[in-house]
Amino acid sequence: MGAPAAQDPSASSYYVGDAFYRELIEAFADWDRDDLAIAEPARRDAVRAFLEREARLLDQARYEDWLALYAPECAYWIPGTPERGDPRREITFAFHDRRQLEDRIFRLRTGYAWSQHPASRTVRSVSNVELFATESAHIVMARSNFLIAELLDGDLRHWAGWAGHRLQITADGYSILAKQVNLIDCDRNVRNPSIAF
């Protein structure tokens, strides 16, 4: 096995190791503190627009465009408990790296994912967007609430929770380093959780 240099995160997963997990857990612990809040309306509005666009891309099943919002070495993490835990030690609701996000999209596109046959229709609302500073001037954390109305094979139902986005500030906007989706029923038995959150 060669040295893990310059690997393509769509094809291999060298970047997800102990250091990555540790930084992720640290980044999502104790970050939404009042003393770190960024009040500037322009910055909050820019992040709000970014999150609204993410929601729309998912509603429109524009998964490739959605994925383009993520940094190459990203994480998509839906904890299995409200305490969120350490994904190295316990099962999560979902924990994807870039390659597995692409797996998820690939599966949905096969035409044989019976849990999405017919495909769900969704309408996502994003609200209560707050912005928080980190130690890095180039990284901000966003907290938002979401409500997803899903029409699943004729049944209308809802998912609710809040999301934490760790955002890299780029030349033309933001890039998602990690998204943590906190479903309020993450530790309950749920029916057909096959949409992307």
């Binding site: 030690r89 999560t92 609701f93 979902a94 390659r99 597995q100 019976w114 749920v190």
Partner: protein
Amino acid sequence: MTTQQKPLPLEPILSGRVHDFDALVHEDKVHRSLYTDPAIFDLEMTRIFGAVWVFLAHESQVPRPNDFVRARLGLRPLIVVRDSNGVLRALYNRCTHRGATVCRQDRGSAKAFQCPYHGWTYLNTGKLSGVPWPEGYSCDFSRPEFNLMQVPRVESYRGFVFGTLNADAPALTDYLGPVRRPLDEWLDRHPGGALEVREANRLKFNGNWKLLYDNSCDGYHVVFSHRSLLMMENRFQEGDGKGMSYYKDSPDTGPVKLYSFPNAHHFKDKRDAIPKRPGALWEIEGLHPGMEHYEAALRRDFPDRADALLDLASSEPVNINVFPNLHILGNHIQVSEPLSVAETATTWYGTAVVDPDGEIGEALGPINALRMRTQEQFPTFGEVDDLANFEQIQAGLAAEEDAWIYMHRGLGLPERYSAAGDGTTVGPATDEVFMRDYMRVYRRLMQTEPAIAPTRETA
């Protein structure tokens, strides 16, 4: 163009005879009402879940005295507790006063449970320890009927805690019988033969609980129901080879074998589809977060043992099914819970290697970091498609005139089977012989009133 077809003769609609299980369960087919009739569901909660040993919890969920976890036996709400003396008990979560649940947390540690409604308090042995203002009562609160009801027989088989309400049930080891062999082998591939439950993927579906049991040893559905998963797992491959690809070519005659055991247990053994050498399991794993990172680290730090260590992070190719609600598959402990005639919860508990004797040392962390991700794959990208198909069976069964559900694959073809003594039938992975065998057990149980004998502390 239209055609005039001769009407088919309709099978008799048997809904008026729900308790005639000889009429509802045939050798080759069962009647739809087993899946749709609430009266049959209610009877199952007594005659199935009240009669046999039912899986309740894993000991790692209650490792220390006073630890508890909530569970259900059929619909009965329970608290599985390791009491202050270390004894495993399954207490009814039901205040003897007015019936409210006394424990409303999923898990925790408690020496006593106090009912939030009127403050009646019970020790974790189930004994009533006090009621507020007892001078308002004329009764004797030391009488047993005021102690929490409990499951009379609770036993652990190598960490798997089962309970039965039936005074006449055989000993747990006899009930399990030959399914203990694959269970032992599954445990013994881990250092110290030990595991811990570490959270779960928790799912449910709008369908009857038996749809899940019917599917649990079914090698016929795999390449169809899981087609998207197989395509996904092999999207970087030249040919197929990852995941359950071994089902793709002639699964009827392939190396995957099905064992149908007495008492409705069964086992699908996929291990012979994989070469017997260290690292072979790891090679067919799908692609998971951190795979390349941790594999490189383990090969660097443990060059002689890396293959065997990586196999511990890999999905064990078995499905071990213990009637009526326990499924061991891959590295999961999957538990199914009937909620109503057309709603079932299924919880896929993840398991971690614990290495009690320090056999694998520093490799433990990386192995579990991989093992958590390998376990998330199937519930996330595979089980959801099965559950969607179960829901569509439940929907299809609304057609009441079309009353029968077939399970006759392999029936009348005795050359496909061999007997292994001890009441075991061995056959191809794609045959429904295990369904026929379990439905025979089911029919007998549904025709028998079990000796349900819950108990209460007396002293």
